[in-house]
């Protein structure tokens, strides 16, 4: 028995490692170790006010900060009997699109592309691909600007509050965002033109299950009240546990998710596989050009899915701004009650995120948060196992195997901090 170990998984958010146990020519076990210490977010906010919960929980992860904010708002407002007006809803949707632009351009352009082009990092890429790096940085900056305009800060902005916004962004601020989009669309298509035609290894191909939020109205989108699963099942978001089936396993602090006793995948590739037919504009033409059945079998296509979603988010922003700027600023909606339950489901850039709450007499009494990376962990390990075995069968050296496993793990765009509030796996 020998061990192949990647001590520090680089170019992902947070602190992770990969361990493979090999017995002769067979891969016995693959572990994605999440070395972040637990922070126990579900106990931090107990007894606090709903508004304080809303401030704290996005701190689970800086990259998904607004997805956490949105999921939290949806759960808390349901529990408090609040229904927000359309303008508030649309602004929240706009900030999620901003987050998608920021997160996808960071991941595809700066973290995953070095893998796909054979570089150690994006800075090194500037020898031949300076233009691509600058395009990714430009789109990323715009995504941050959208988030900053609406949430007051690119990371952990406090402007989205229960029932509305502390301050609604002005039409001038929103038009200033819209004005930038035209120049960014060709940058997004350039990324797809680069990533779309790439060939990914067929030996990784194996079927899996997918899930995402169903936006309703036959639209593509990032929020919903129902969960859509690849076997055709639709679940009310309040029944999220029927999808996640979380369980504690004794060999780690990881709570693992399985649907019908099997791993499943959430994230860009899940959304595009399940809802891709609903895409519009240039994003739809790219979907038609590049999407095929292998996307349901190979996680590396998540990189292409993200670049298509990046374009989709950019295309969606101008019409959203047109609609929002035609509306008057509504008053902040006050809670209708101080006791209740509610679950919010949101598509974070890296997958479905659930926040489920109970509030008693105006204080948080129960908090359950299930993050996309926690749901993806089992599939990440499964595909790393497939990759390791295929590489061993081909007689590859450890260094090549390590590199390939990192590529598989990174293609999921894992957010180690996100999963680590539930997870600490340190296996000896």
């Amino acid at each position: 028995m020998r061990e192949i170990k990647i001590e520090h998984l680089a170019r992902v958010e947070g602190h992770g490692a990969i361990k493979v146990e090999v017995d002769g020519k067979k891969v016995k076990k693959v572990d994605l170790e999440v070395l972040e210490g637990p922070r126990l977010f579900e106990t931090i906010t107990l007894g606090k006010l709903p508004s304080e919960n809303l401030s704290i929980v996005p701190r689970i992860c800086a990259i998904c900060t607004l997805s956490h904010k949105n999921a939290s708002l949806r759960g808390l407002e349901k529990a408090l009997g609040i229904k927000v007006p359309e303008k508030t809803d649309l602004l929240r949707s706009l900030m999620l699109h901003g987050e998608a632009v920021e997160s996808h351009s960071l991941h595809v352009g700066l973290l995953a592309l070095p893998d796909l082009l054979g570089y150690p990092n994006a800075i090194a890429m500037t020898d031949k691909y300076a233009d691509t790096v600058i395009k990714a940085l430009t789109m990323k900056k715009f995504g941050n600007k959208v988030m900053e305009t609406i949430a007051a800060r690119a990371t952990h902005g406090e402007n989205p509050i229960i029932g509305g916004f502390g301050r609604f962004p002005t039409n001038e601020e929103l038009f200033a965002l819209k004005d930038q989009v035209g120049a960014l669309i060709p940058m997004a298509t350039a990324v797809i033109d680069l990533v779309g035609p790439m060939k990914f290894p067929t030996w990784l191909d194996e079927e899996t299950q997918f899930a995402c939020m169903e936006p309703g109205n036959k639209e593509y989108g990032l929020v919903g009240e129902q969960i859509l699963i690849s076997d055709g099942t639709k679940l009310d978001v309040e029944d999220y546990k029927k999808l996640t089936n979380e369980r504690v396993v004794p060999h780690s602090y990881a709570k693992r998710s399985r649907y019908k006793e099997k791993p499943y995948t959430v994230g860009s590739v899940a959304r595009v596989n399940l809802l891709g037919g609903r895409l519009t504009g240039k994003a739809k033409s790219y979907y038609d050009r590049y999407h095929n059945d292998r996307w349901k079998k190979n996680p590396i296509f998540n990189n292409v899915a993200q670049s298509i979603e990046l374009l989709y988010a950019l295309e969606k922003i101008p019409p959203l701004i047109d609609k929002i700027t035609g509306m008057k600023d509504p008053a902040v909606v006050k809670p209708g009650r101080d006791t209740g339950k509610g679950t919010g489901g949101v598509e974070a850039p890296r997958g479905t995120l659930f926040h489920s709450y109970e509030i008693k007499n105006g204080r948080m009494s129960k908090v359950d948060i299930i993050t996309p990376t926690a749901q993806n962990l089992e599939d990440i390990e499964r595909y790393m196992g497939i990759a390791a075995q295929a590489m061993l069968d081909k007689g590859e050296k450890d260094d090549a195997i390590k590199k390939q496993l990192e590529i598989v793990a990174r293609s999921y765009d894992p957010c180690v901090s996100c999963s680590a509030h539930l997870v600490e796996i340190v296996r000896k």
Binding site: H8, A10, R11, E13, G14, H15, L35, E36, G37, P38, R39, F41, E42, T43, T45, G47, K48, L49, S51, E52, S55, I56, R59, C61, A62, I63, T65, L110, L111, P120, N121, I123, A124, T126, L137, T138, K141, A152, R153, T155, H156, E158, N159, F165, G166, V248, P250, H251, Y253, K255, K334, P335, D338, G362, E406, S417, A420, E424, R427, K428
Partner: protein, 279 residues
């Protein structure tokens, strides 16, 4: 705090070697560095960045001039990593709220201890893996040379600090509360609207961004030097509850809960002192 140190000046004579690290946290401060889209290529030009796991995979771990560390110490692995970094670095910078104060995870909302809370989340399962540690700031374990607070850090504050460090100087710590910036921005004081605002006890440097948006300060930058926490608590418990108008006022616990959102261990100490002053 030891700014303007001889070590810092020596470090700057040639292009300083820098390592950027994350312990347990949300990575928001490292992300804020990556978010310096207009400056990131310059940062990599001005400093010799040897290790930045979040952004690069070809990292080298050796002696360095400056170590920038984000996150709280929340596991034995974190502690070993921090002690190793401290040994190898001439100047250690605590980056962001978790590294400076311990972060929200050190916020003890409930009176029960860390082990009980672990049990609350994971149940009675017997783990075969090493214990976690109650989250604490870096200064609980090692000497910290420079602190850059904030959840997340302010981009400009970081760039200014790095720029000065590259030139052999250090940043000037902010010694006044958010209220000063809030007055400059001509905001209406939210305390008059019965909002539980932590501006008076929170260190400035954020340009009062939340209050500029009519949102009460959540104290994400941690307590300001010489914060009058006793005075703040006394004032706040007299106010009417703005969200549930039928409530008489905030309770002492409400105020403590809010102060402990991001105040970490320094706020625990200040609240203890405030309690003493009340008696």
């Amino acid at each position: 705090m030891t700014h303007h140190t001889a070590e810092a000046r020596a470090a700057a004579k040639k292009k300083p070697t820098v390592g950027i690290y994350g312990l347990t946290g949300c990575a928001g401060d490292q992300l804020t560095i990556v978010n310096c889209e207009d400056q990131i290529l310059d940062i990599f030009g001005a400093a010799d960045i040897r290790s930045f796991l979040m952004a690069m995979s070809n990292n080298t771990e050796e002696q360095m001039d400056v170590a920038i560390v984000e996150g709280s110490v929340s596991s034995k692995g974190d502690l070993e990593m921090l002690q190793d970094i401290r040994k190898r670095a001439k100047v250690l910078i605590a980056l962001g709220g978790c590294a400076v104060n311990g972060g929200p995870q050190s916020g003890r909302a409930l009176k029960n201890d860390w082990k009980e809370r672990v049990k609350q989340v994971y149940g009675d399962v017997k783990f075969s893996i090493p214990e976690s540690l109650e989250p604490k700031p870096l200064s609980a374990y090692v000497k910290v040379d420079i602190s850059i607070p904030g959840c997340p850090i302010d981009k400009l504050e970081f760039l200014r600090a790095l720029g000065r460090l590259v030139k052999g100087d250090g940043p000037t710590p902010v010694k006044y509360p958010v209220c000063i910036e809030c007055k400059y921005n001509e905001n209406e004081c939210l305390l008059f609207k019965n909002e539980l605002c932590l501006g008076p006890v929170t260190v400035a440097g954020c340009n009062s961004v939340c209050i500029n948006n009519n949102v009460a300060c959540v104290g994400c930058r941690g307590p300001v030097a010489e914060a009058n926490v006793a005075g703040e608590v006394e004032m706040l418990v007299k106010m009417k509850h703005p969200h549930f108008p039928d409530r008489k006022s905030f309770s002492y616990d409400d105020v403590v809960n809010k102060a402990m959102m991001y105040g970490g261990s320094p706020m625990v100490d200040l609240l203890e002192k405030a309690k003493g002053a009340k008696k």
